[in-house]
């Protein structure tokens, strides 16, 4: 059995490959659902309903997709430049910390200024956090995978310290949570009686902006060139280190904005569980999207839908909601396999 490159890939194949992959995943996961003793068809129906089956379900999926779009973008931008930012989770908390610091009464601005202000300070905090590994990489050749990953724990423990200590809200009856964001800083609700907030619009605009930057600007050309062939980029005179630093600031800033949307949009105050691993799942989102900024929206919706759907499936059918992790992981593998098969063909000899 051998793999050979295809000379060209038909359009129908490019479109149908991920869809087929998802079907394969459903077949593969059937075994687990049956093993849990639940009826297969009803379980998948429950999953689909929980993800997109009602106004409430759709709103919840969109709420969950919002931070995933942003952390997915963060990973996509960084990975394009081959800057392996595994620190989305830490940058997200950094953004959340910044929004809490400035947004709980320290500064009072009218809402049209306050909300952008929170995003700006959040993005700066996240960008600066990723600047540390980026500088270590460009100056001292330190592997950023290790440094970005370890910084996640540093920041999470910092948040722990602050919420159990100096920042603890005295009105929260002893719970480790921050003071509420002032009303001017709260992201407006998009649909009444749901949690859906303006962060979604911000995330979609961010995706479009990143797409524009990557394809239409000088910076995008530099980032892509550095990622695809650093030696040729360097030979042609593209400033490698400057490009990596710039990428780090953009990527860290995007991940931090996910923290801002959670604190100022979903929860309205900082807790230690504002992110069930959005920073890490963002990596899966980016890979699933093939690092395409617009594809990130679709991938984030898909993964958010799976997680929310699995939650309601577990409630209705008594299947553990860990099935969501299995489906996400299997989808990632299957979609990558499918994409590879659109580029290569298998020959049996």
């Amino acid at each position: 059995m051998q793999l050979e490159p295809r000379t060209h890939t038909p359009l129908w194949m490019t479109i149908s490959a991920p869809i087929i992959a998802v079907f394969v995943v459903m077949i593969l996961c059937s075994g687990l659902i049956l093993w849990a003793g639940a009826p297969l068809l009803q379980s998948y129906v429950a999953l689909a309903k929980g993800a997109f089956g009602s106004k409430f379900a759709i709103a919840e999926t969109l709420v969950r997709a919002t931070p995933l779009i942003l952390t997915g973008l963060a990973a996509a931008v960084a990975f394009r430049a081959k800057l392996w930012n595994i620190g989305g989770e830490g940058q997200l908390y950094m953004g959340a910390l910044a929004a809490t610091y400035f947004g709980t009464g320290m500064i009072n601005l009218p809402a049209p200024l306050m909300i952008p202000f929170l995003f700006v300070v959040g993005a700066i905090a996240g960008g600066v956090l990723l600047l540390i590994p980026a500088l270590l990489k460009t100056r001292l050749n330190v592997d950023e995978v290790v440094t970005t990953l370890l910084l996640n724990f540093v920041i999470l423990l910092l948040a722990n310290y602050l919420l159990f200590g100096p920042w603890k809200d005295p009105m929260a009856m002893g719970w480790p949570q921050g003071a509420p964001i002032i009303d001017e800083g709260i992201l407006p609700k998009l649909v009444a009686k749901t949690r859906l907030h303006g962060g979604l619009i911000f995330a979609v605009l961010a995706s479009i902006s990143v797409w524009v930057v990557m394809t239409k600007t000088k910076w995008g050309l530099e980032i892509r060139a550095v990622g695809l062939n650093q030696e040729a980029a360097s030979f042609a005179g593209i400033p490698i280190n400057k490009t990596i630093i710039r990428t780090a600031l953009i990527s860290g800033g995007l991940a931090a904005c996910a923290g801002v949307t959670e604190v100022a949009g979903t929860k309205e105050y900082l807790t230690l569980d504002i992110s069930p691993g959005f920073g890490y799942t963002g990596i899966a989102v980016a890979m699933l999207a093939g690092l395409n900024p617009l594809g990130v929206i679709v991938a984030a919706l898909f993964i958010a839908g799976i997680y929310n759907g699995a939650d309601s499936m577990s409630r209705a059918m008594d299947v553990s909601n860990y099935i969501a992790d299995v489906i996400t992981a299997a989808s990632l593998l299957m979609v990558m396999l499918a994409v590879m098969l659109t580029r290569m063909r298998i020959r049996f000899s």
Partner: protein, 515 residues
């Protein structure tokens, strides 16, 4: 069963990759004690065919017979067991192991309480004496010269019982003298009944060693005759298909000085001097050829002029002005056009389109970006104009460069470099891996630029190319550069001696410390 002399028979081998027919019904046979030379331009299908014989690929049709045994598809172990040994162009040796360890690697059982090397050592000694391939079995591979490494590769094949040796461009990395030594060894092996398939571009060598010649072109076998019936002209014509007129070098009066290196040294990261006190002048209307076995300082030399590294001592001046900033962009702005050695690694971003690769050095100019926004229309028009001017066939502005042939890829780089009318052109191995037609195009472009007043530095391992194109030639050896010699009256033999280090000893003792 026709004759017992036939050791290898290739019968009707066909192999396709997608739409590309790499081998089209190829048949020939190799006789015992003979050298069959396989010739063809790059992309003619030689490598594919060898990979099929060695069992790396399976043929779509046809079969291989070794000593009368049919080879089942896709099994290198079987080919080795039947007596096929391959010496690759790029050595497959583990640098951190000794000669003996490399030779026995893979022939010993993997799980053994204690490794016993004495049997292997004995066998290796017998083989090296029998064939006159002398190397110290306990030397580390990394301490060996290129010629010695090649001997180890051959010993490795013999150790595994090879009776048919496939040599893939074995002389590409050798000096002429080392090549002669290799040929002596080969003749010894033939006398002992081994057979050889010899793959090469160099017609001179083929005429010297081969018994039979097989020429491939575009995947087809176009000629198969004994050497007695061949001449250089016939072989060349068969390889290319039609006679390609070579551009003639015209003698020109040199103009003003463009580039001057004064006792320039460069150190690598470990503090080793990799360029030693090199002095050198380049003038307008001049092509200077730099010869040398690869790895003798050509890289730091071209890196320096490309702005990829700084001198640790000495000075570089451009049109009389001393250069203080060594950065790629600075060099481009100073009018240096740089054709890098490895086009895949340094020359192009393979996954970028043609238009993007064409602006890689100039995307920051107002023509291609304003306030950070790429001017897509200008970028695309620019690419269209260059595609036309350089006759890059089968490519549009948005074609991904990775899919282009070597010649077209090189044209993309040449277009990018030459459209700025550079005063100095640094062409490092510009025709490596190109077919005759594409190589001729590159030479024409260099002559054209020289006519327009440019000075050209041509770094090449192909002596014939250097002698045909250069006005003056110098040789690099261990980081030193010989005196420039006018090309008239220089012979390949002289260059060969310089390439192996003769005449450099005195230069080594006189220290030019320009601190």
């Amino acid at each position: 069963m026709a004759d017992t002399d036939t050791v290898l028979r290739v019968q009707n081998i066909t192999k396709t990759f997608g739409d590309l027919i790499a081998n089209d019904a190829i048949s020939f046979s190799l006789k015992k004690g003979k050298v069959l030379s396989l010739l063809g331009e790059n992309g003619a299908g030689k490598t594919t065919l060898m990979n099929i014989i060695f069992g790396h690929y399976s043929a779509d049709d046809g079969y291989i017979e070794i000593f009368g045994n049919r080879l089942s598809a896709s099994n290198p172990a079987e080919a080795i067991a039947l007596g096929v040994g391959m010496v690759h162009q790029h050595f497959t040796l583990a640098d951190n192991l000794t000669v003996l360890e490399n030779v026995i690697l893979g022939t010993e059982p993997l799980w053994k309480w204690k490794q016993d090397k004495s049997a292997g050592r004995r066998r290796l000694r017998e083989l090296s004496e029998e064939f006159g391939l002398h190397v110290d079995p306990d030397a580390d591979i990394k301490s060996l010269t290129v010629g010695e490494k090649q001997r180890v590769e051959i010993l490795k094949a013999l150790y595994r019982g090879a009776k048919i040796l496939i040599l893939d461009e074995p002389t590409a990395v050798l000096t002429p003298q080392e090549s002669d030594q290799l040929f002596d060894t080969l003749r010894d092996m033939l006398a002992r009944g081994l057979s050889v398939i010899f793959i090469s571009h160099k017609l001179g060598e083929v005429m010297a060693i081969a018994d039979d010649i097989v020429v491939l072109r575009h995947g087809k076998l176009v000629a198969n005759f004994p050497i007695a019936e061949a001449s250089r002209e016939i072989i060349a014509e068969k390889m290319v298909g039609e006679a390609v007129p070579q551009p003639e070098r015209q003698v020109m009066e040199k103009g003003a000085e463009l580039l001057c290196l004064d006792t320039v040294s460069v150190q690598d990261a470990a503090g080793q001097k990799i360029l030693k006190s090199v002095s050198f002048n380049l003038n307008q209307h001049q092509i200077i050829g730099i010869a040398g076995v690869s790895g003798n300082g050509q890289k730091p030399f071209s890196d320096l002029i490309s702005g990829m590294c700084k001198p640790t001592s000495g000075s570089v001046s451009l049109s009389g002005e001393i250069v203080s900033v060594f950065e790629p962009q600075k060099m481009v702005e100073s009018g240096i056009g740089r054709v890098p050695e490895d086009r895949h690694v340094q020359g192009v971003v393979g996954d970028f389109s043609v238009e993007e690769n064409m602006i890689l050095e100039s995307y920051m100019t107002p023509r291609f970006s304003k306030l950070g926004w790429l001017q897509r229309k200008n970028v695309s028009d620019h690419a269209k104009a260059l595609i036309k001017a350089f006759d890059i066939r089968g490519a549009g502005p948005e074609t991904i460069v990775r899919g282009l042939s070597g010649g077209n890829m090189q044209k993309v780089i040449l277009a990018r470099v030459l459209e700025n009318n550079p005063e100095i052109i640094l062409a490092n191995q510009p025709t490596r891996g190109l077919d005759v037609g594409a190589a001729t195009f590159v030479h024409e472009q260099l002559f054209e630029a020289r006519k327009g007043g440019a000075g050209v530095i041509l770094i090449s391992e192909d002596l014939e190319e250097l002698l045909a194109v250069s006005d003056q030639i110098a040789v690099m050896y261990h980081g030193q550069l010989s005196k420039l010699m006018p090309v008239e009256g220089v012979t390949q033999q002289q260059l060969g001696l310089l390439m192996s280090g003769e005449g450099f000893a005195t230069q080594k003792e006189t220290k030019h410390n320009a601190a």
